[in-house]
Subunit: 271 residues, 2 copies
């Protein structure tokens, strides 16, 4: 099986970049795996920015891959789509400023990817499974490979490294490769969270008019009830949740301010 | 007295930007103060980046201000230096990813600035004074005004807002203006921290080879002793502090990775 581990799809998410570089040096061996490493957005990595022109992890739609626009990430996506043509399984490493621990994101509905996610979630207390099956903004890098997981780790600021999260992620990543190598199977049902919607910040003429409420900040994966405070405006006015209970994720993720998502709503499900 | 409050000297430090915008709307009145507001780096603010070409807060040296290089921040520094010619007192708002609470930074040795810092540190438990009198990299915006304080708030990631820190900073800022307005004096001696040196990450060929040790992370202003762990390499090798005891600050500040500072060393002093 040909497996690729990628970091630096976003150039300011240092954990994945330095973990890929470490494993390139350590060369871990798995007898049934042809392992490759990828630093996906070298220009953004060099500048420690999420992207240069456009979010690379929204640049793999058919339209983007066929576009001849002079957008660095569109050009890069074409190169990566070609390079990943022979890849059977992609493990893509990301970080988030939200308090999401180690989240295994599934962006397609295939059994092999779900199997890995389930085993990791059962074995590690701090690992949760998030299904993110559709995304209006553009396709993830995962869309050009048959099987994949994204490992999303936080809270950590853009442009910094957190040693505890680094070593915890390394352990989970190596175990994921080990599961693939041994073709382990999991027949248990495992809890997961399905993204169902996004909620934007209060805005006036497009500009942010409030912040995540202190009582919501850091409470990713904790049940949010109707009536709970969610935002506080700069002048102190509070906003309350008015929908049916759900589990919020990506609360106050830096990169999603511009995407119009203060947090995402999820429902608990089983896989 | 003409007082300017500036935010957005660094375009991804949102607290100061949104606090300036709020006060522009609220128009607080102080009878003895002509109050002005400044969003210092509009191009960087629009792109939510620290800077476009060069750190604006290192672009106020004589050389930079006389340079005709096509560097956006050098050009902007000239505009700001002109605009601040009539300013008596500057309050410049910043954030840091380090766990520094509300730090009042003094970058010149004048009595008026020190007086404000002392009163704030005495009144607010979470306010500390940091003296940063010299900086090899280039002059701060503070260098073009006779008196100033910088308010440096953390921990908060670049590109995000933290409501608790926002409101706490607003309170301290308004109190600083109130002190200036009433010309209050403080004759007590107050504790402060003097920056004496910086320590860089372990590096190999210029590239980072390790992270802040988990036992140091978040412990700004806590006494660091000889033998305490400070770094951990990606392969797990630990580095220990070998110098005489000091108080570290700016531990793991995102913007200082490129400046070669994993943290700064300070000594306690009185003001």
């Amino acid at each position: 099986m040909r497996v690729t581990v990628s970091g630096g799809v976003h150039g300011n998410e240092l954990l994945g970049i330095y973990l890929v570089k470490l494993l390139q040096r350590e060369e871990p061996h798995f007898e049934n795996i042809a392992l490759e490493f990828l630093l996906a957005n070298p220009k953004a990595i060099a500048q420690c920015r999420r992207y240069i022109d456009r979010d690379l992890n929204r640049s793999f739609s058919k339209e983007a891959l066929e576009s001849d626009a002079a957008i660095y990430e569109y050009e890069r996506a074409k190169v990566l789509a070609k390079r990943l043509e022979q890849c059977d399984f992609l493990i893509d490493l990301h970080t988030t400023t939200a308090n999401m621990g180690i989240t295994v994101v599934l962006s397609s509905d295939d059994a092999l990817s779900a199997n890995i996610a389930k085993i990791l979630a059962l074995e590690y207390e701090n690992v949760r499974i998030l299904r993110w099956l559709s995304n209006d903004e553009g396709a993830f890098i995962n869309s050009v490979v048959p099987h994949s997981i994204t490992i999303e780790v936080g809270p950590v600021c853009q442009g910094v490294l957190d040693a505890n999260l680094f070593f915890a992620t390394k352990k989970v990543l190596l175990r994921a490769l080990d599961i693939l190598n041994k073709e382990e199977r999991c027949d248990e049902k495992v809890e997961c969270y399905d993204i169902v919607d996004a909620r934007d910040f209060p805005r006036i003429d497009g500009e942010i008019a409030g912040m995540i409420h202190p009582e919501l900040l850091g409470r990713d994966y904790e049940l949010l009830h109707p009536g709970d405070p969610i935002f506080i405006e700069f002048d102190g006015k509070e906003h309350f949740f008015e929908e049916e209970s759900c589990y919020p994720v990506f609360i106050n993720e830096a990169a999603y301010y511009e995407k119009g998502a203060a947090f995402y709503l999820t429902k608990k499900s089983t896989l």
